[in-house]
């Protein structure tokens, strides 16, 4: 009965209640959204790479190197020359190495030039190796292995032919029409940027550039033969025989006289990323908490200002036998109704937003997220919001309680 009364009372003032509801919905949306994206970003980034001891690229900040080599965010300013890579790969402390050559794209997805070692040694998540869902690793030139998302999105199957473009845009002006690639393999989904990548051999990578040069500079007498070693690569991943050697080798690479390089430990770089983001996260959390507080206060204000016009109503409830505490309960119930609806709406909004935006996030930022925005922290936040609402609703509720205890039943004029 009381719930029905609370509901009808809110419905009677649906205009102002709707605005309050909207502000609570939006602030809950902000709080949940920020927290969920934050935790999911961490999780997603952390599981992108594992088992790699060093990432080596041209001299840059460790964060930048990590972002462009592993997460495919941004671009390398410079590369690593092939002889330098060859020399380091041959170091006796190195168990394996994976060269990475980035820079091309196919319909918005990155093309990665690498070797078959990539499929053997690369690990993600909890030391999980890459797995081919169908087909096999590229062998010869002009063969490509697709990430799961690429294959699903672009509808490619084994044996399909596709054309790779130079540059990163969705639409490229220089399609390498003369060098079609054949799909030889499709990887199983990993939930990492690998899914958004097309993998070709380093040789093929060189070949398409060579043929591009041939085509555009036909007059030039200088033609390079196909099947050449690449001049340079973007970066490379290193696995060591003994992890104990990691700092020694890192220092040696960083001090290399032949070429200015940066070697990073992925874990350390990730930690730096988190600490860089921590301040921004704290500011975002604080802002969303304040926004939430403001909207809860707005709700309390709405109900408090409605108390004056509801004096008669409250006196009536008292006249028919409602105790003052029933009035208190009624006001609290109204607040809880608004808050719960706001929380539910905010939650659903985040959920819908994530469902709608997950592809965009994964394609543009390599963020693979769980779209259901509930975890321990968020559940705690929701509980805190509820308690906060009850406490703030106490302002109008206690006001109503007091006035209804002191007030007379006499109504009207």
């Amino acid at each position: 009965m009381l719930l029905e009364l609370a509901w009808r009372s809110l419905w009677n003032r649906r205009g102002s209640v709707l605005l309050t509801l909207l502000s609570i919905t939006l602030s809950v949306f902000t709080v949940i959204g920020v927290e969920h994206i934050r935790s999911q970003a961490r999780e997603s980034f952390s599981r992108t790479i594992s088992g790699v001891d060093l990432v080596v690229g041209a001299r840059t900040s460790q964060l930048n190197l990590l972002l462009y080599s592993v997460f495919r965010i941004g671009n390398a300013s410079n590369g690593v020359s092939w002889p330098t890579y060859a020399a380091l790969a041959a170091d006796k402390r190195v168990a394996w190495s994976i060269p990475l050559s980035l820079g091309d794209s196919h319909r918005g997805y990155r093309v990665l030039g690498t070797t078959s070692d990539y499929f053997t040694h690369f690990r993600y998540g909890a030391q999980t190796p890459l797995e081919l869902r169908e087909g096999q690793v590229f062998g010869e030139d002009n063969e490509v292995v697709l990430g799961a998302t690429v294959a699903a999105r672009l509808g490619y199957q084994l044996g399909d032919e596709l054309v790779l473009a130079h540059g990163l845009g969705e639409v490229s002006f220089s399609n390498h029409d003369d060098a079609p690639f054949t799909v030889t393999g499709i990887l199983a989904a990993t939930g990492t940027p690998v899914d958004q990548t097309l993998h070709i051999s380093l040789h093929s990578m060189e070949a398409i550039h060579a043929s591009l040069q041939n085509a555009t500079a036909a007059a030039s007498a200088h033609t390079e033969p196909a099947h050449t070693e690449p001049e340079s690569i973007t970066a490379f991943l290193v696995g060591l025989k003994s992890r104990a050697a990691v700092f020694g080798l890192q220092r040696e690479i960083n001090d290399l006289a032949a070429e200015p390089l940066t070697a990073i430990l992925p874990g350390v770089a990730l930690a730096e990323l988190w600490s860089t983001m921590a301040a921004a996260e704290a500011v975002l959390s604080a802002i969303s908490a304040l926004v939430l507080l403001a909207s809860l206060l707005g709700m309390a204000t709405l109900l408090l200002s409605s108390m004056k016009e509801r004096t008669r109503e409250i006196a009536l409830y008292r006249a028919v036998g409602a105790h003052a505490s029933t009035i208190l309960l009624l006001i609290e119930l109204e607040c809880l109704l608004i808050t719960c609806m706001g929380m539910a709406a905010g939650f659903l909004l985040v959920w819908a937003g994530l469902l709608a935006g997950q592809d965009w996030l994964s394609e543009h930022y390599g963020l693979v997220i769980n779209t259901f925005p509930l975890n321990g922290t968020i559940a705690t936040y929701l509980a805190v919001i509820l308690v906060g609402a009850v406490v703030l609703a106490g302002i109008p509720a206690v006001t109503a309680y007091r006035s209804s205890l002191a007030g007379k039943l006499r109504l009207g004029a």
Binding site: E313, A322, H323, G412
Partner: protein
């Protein structure tokens, strides 16, 4: 048994110069129809709040239906009021945004479980099945169309609203009905039919009625007229110069 028994009552609103009310003696028998005559400012509103158990006197005793209010907690008084006392006011008797039926049902929703309060006239809530019938009978007695039940209270005319207010006040079959200037917002025709319906309803139920008005012309159907000025004639706390003896 007496419906209302007041003895040596003294009530004073907080504040040094605040209004005070003293009622040496008032006895109203069960089933009696009493017309309480008083102008505004005579203290009748305060008296009704004391009888309804909303205000607590500083001195003296109030017994309603043989129940001593000084023995009851605030919550028990609220429940007692819900069960045994029907109240009709001058206007704004109904929650405007609720439909008529919900407004009437409001009165029964606060009756609660049988507490320590019990009198011979107590209506138990075991007759919940009878409630819809009772509502229908009440509406019929008050000449209200049952189709009005689903209408919002504020879509009714003032005359209809006042009659719904009686239905609301009577739905729990209270032993005592208090009506505070219920006709002052009505025009002459509506007022006459209101009085007729009210007294007709009383004739069937035998409810004790305390009808408060400043309009002596309405007193015809009542057993007894009590003048507020006589009732509170002796006011020891009244400041000098404000007493207007009859």
């Amino acid at each position: 048994m007496l419906a209302i028994a007041i003895h040596d009552l003294l009530f004073k609103w907080p504040g040094a110069d605040a209004f005070s009310l003293a009622v040496p003696e008032l006895q109203i028998a069960c089933g009696e129809k009493v017309f309480l005559l008083g102008a505004s400012g005579s203290g009748k509103s305060t008296l009704l709040n004391l009888i309804a158990g909303v205000l607590t006197p500083q001195q003296g005793s109030i017994r309603i239906l043989d129940t001593d209010f000084s023995q009851l907690s605030a919550r028990q008084k609220d429940r007692f009021r819900a069960r045994h006392i029907g109240l009709v006011f001058q206007q704004f008797n109904l929650i405007p945004y609720l439909d008529v039926e919900t407004n009437i049902r409001l009165a029964s929703s606060f009756v609660g479980s049988p507490g320590p309060v019990s009198t011979s006239t107590s209506t138990s809530k075991s007759d919940a099945n009878a409630a819809p019938q009772r509502m229908r009978a009440l509406l019929e007695g008050l000449q209200l169309d049952p189709a009005l039940l689903k209408r919002r209270a504020d879509s009714l005319s003032v005359g209809q609203q006042q009659r719904v207010a009686i239905a609301r006040a009577m739905i729990n079959q209270p032993a005592l009905l208090i009506a505070d200037e219920p006709t002052s917002a009505l025009d002459t025709d509506a007022r006459d039919s209101f009085m007729q319906l009210l007294l007709g309803l009383q004739a069937n139920s035998g409810t004790t009625i305390v009808f408060v008005s400043h309009d002596r012309s309405l007193a015809s159907g009542f057993d007894r007229v009590v003048d507020m000025r006589q009732l509170v004639a002796c006011q020891p706390l009244q400041p000098l110069g404000t007493t207007h003896a009859a």
